[in-house]
């Protein structure tokens, strides 16, 4: 197998000093190869967000080594880090983090602008990325004119527009209702089927079930690491999970699914979304 996209060894993150010391990560080691679709699950406080921020080069570990595409991230300078974030990583946040009062296509173009791509080429690639997430017709909408699910799909388009080696998603569906969750997860499934490397953080079983590999994190350490489907094939969990989510949106609320149906502003935009079937809105 080729060089791993991501390789962390004995990663530790300690916040605070003295009595107030918090060990967010207590030595995490993992390797992710090209084409894998990894879900990292854990309850809140398990250190999964800390891990994600380190993997996204947004934060630095207290101890341990992190190799991204074979490069030791800890040794990179500030400008090299910026380059790595731009070219190697596509980061998707739980809170979408689109630039306010800026159109969807301009938001998607942003990483390309920092990469020095010419405006014409930039626009073409941004539109292509929006097309992948099914939002080409919403390109000129500003974030506050989009539903939560649409905003998150714009964020996904922004993350994949630079064709990064690694897509990182930090609870991408945490702020979404079940219908939008399904839309976004469908995009991830498609991307994975297209051979992208994805690492996703979640605390929802439905989301975890779709991944090819499931890692459980408890108190800052990995407790289980299960391969759910082969790395070379499209994620098999997808179809099953898809059916399950569909049944939920049709009114049969599964016990474990209550959290996923948390209402966001997304559903209030229902009429604006051509993706929400009428029944889908009842679940909100």
């Amino acid at each position: 197998m080729s060089r791993p996209v991501l390789e962390v060894q004995d990663l530790k993150k300690i916040y605070g000093t003295g009595e107030a010391t918090v060990h967010a990560l207590r030595g995490v080691s993992m390797t992710v190869h090209r084409g894998d679709y990894v879900a990292i699950m854990g309850s809140s406080g398990s250190g999964k967000s800390t891990l994600m921020n380190i993997l996204g080069a947004l934060d630095i570990p207290t101890f341990g080594s992190y190799k991204l595409d074979g490069v030791e991230v800890g040794t990179l300078s500030d400008s090299q880090l910026a380059l790595a974030r731009n070219r190697l990583i596509g980061f998707i946040f739980q809170a979408f983090n689109l630039i306010p009062r800026t159109s969807a296509v301009a938001n998607v173009e942003l990483p390309l602008a920092y990469a020095g791509v010419k405006p014409r080429e930039r626009r073409r690639r941004a539109m292509a990325a929006l097309d992948i997430v099914g939002l080409a017709d919403r390109a000129d909408h500003e974030p506050n004119q989009l539903s939560g699910g649409q905003q998150q799909r714009v964020a996904v388009a922004r993350a994949l527009v630079t064709e990064p080696a690694l897509l990182l998603a930090d609870e991408p569906t945490g702020n979404l209702d079940s219908k939008s969750t399904d839309d976004v997860l469908q995009v991830f499934d498609d991307l994975s089927a297209a051979g992208r490397t994805i690492v996703i953080i979640t605390h929802e079983d439905e989301v975890g079930a779709r991944a090819k590999r499931l890692i459980r994190l408890v108190d800052g350490a990995i407790v289980t690491d299960n391969r759910q489907s082969p790395i070379e094939l499209p994620p098999v969990g997808a179809a099953a999970a898809h059916a399950k989510v569909q049944s939920v949106t049709n009114g049969h609320l599964a016990a474990g699914h209550g959290a996923a149906a948390r209402t966001t502003t997304g559903t209030t935009y229902g009429p604006a979304s051509s993706y929400a079937p009428p029944v889908g809105r009842h679940s909100a």
């Binding site: 080069a57 947004l58 630095i60 790595a84």
Partner: protein, 409 residues
Amino acid sequence: MNFLEVVRFSLRGLSANKLRSALTMLGILIGVAAVILLVAVGNGSAKAISDRIEALGTNTITVMSTGRGGSSSTALTKKMADALIDEELAPDIKSVSPVVSASSATMTYEGTDHAVSTFVGTTPDWFGASSTPVEKGASFTTDDVTQGRRVVVIGQTVAEELFPGVDPIDKQVTVSGALFTVVGVLKEKSSTGFQDSNDTAVAPLTAVQQVLAGYGSLTSIIVEAKDPDKVDAVQSEVSTILNQQLNVKSATSSSRSGSGTSSTPYRIQNASSLLETQTETADTFTTLLGAVAAISLLVGGIGITNIMLVTVTERTREIGIRKALGAPRRVILTQFLIEATLLSVLGGALGVAAALIGSHFTIVGVKPVIVPSSIGLAVGVSVAIGLFFGGLPAARAARLRPIDALRYE
């Protein structure tokens, strides 16, 4: 990513927050305009005061006799006045106007009487020396003086009393039985004190001497210096000549302030004390202006600081997002610096424009006079503050780890 691209980013950043950008610029505009206008108003009132002092005639001195009238040995005569016109001994004298004045001369025109409070007989130079220009018609000429022609220039009050609704030029008036032709009307003068300075009539020296005052002594001699700075020199020159003429031994002369010593039969009044007052006034105003400008700049600067800090702090999250997307620190810093520069410079320019427009209006009774250096100072300080407080927090935010900037609330 080239510079032009970053400029476009800044413009997009500014236009994405139109209201905030407009308010920021408004803050800078008000700061700059306030400083420039306040200084201009202060400067304008200082200038108004100095103009008023200037109008009193800062470059003239008045020689008056201290002796009791009649005593020919101490009286000022036309001969003495003529002696003062001497390029050798008195090179700084511009003009000499001998003056005889008759109080309470009655003027009559077609049955209307008017008692003129001061009837002055003099030479044409007097109009310039005493800063009383002729508004309508003409003053009399040197020829009129030598010929003793009976022509008169009357003050505004006299014109209104004797010729209500009639053009007084070329009308004949009777003064003590003699006919005088009105040739001009004096420009209205602001009255100081109790006396109405417009209730006056001016005629050739010789004519007044013939009709009213007689050929005795002069009331005073008004000497005009070539330059306001030469007044002191003129004063000593005048003393020297007069002492010679009057055979005064002691050369103590009169003191500067105009109070003649008893040893000389004349005293000299000059306006240099007023000049001193003027300088002091100007100095006081300069200090006042400095204080006002400093306070205005401080207040304006705090306003700019405030809005810049708020703007950047509010956008710390955005900076975090941009860093997470791979924006190099340099690009972020450049973008925010350009935004701050555009806001500061545009706001400053608009402020200057507002101040320039505002200076065309009379503010609290003062016509503002723009001080060019105040424009430079106001714009310079505002732009510097805008750049500093716009750039510093942006630099700080750009240095943060993306995750810390993203978590910033």
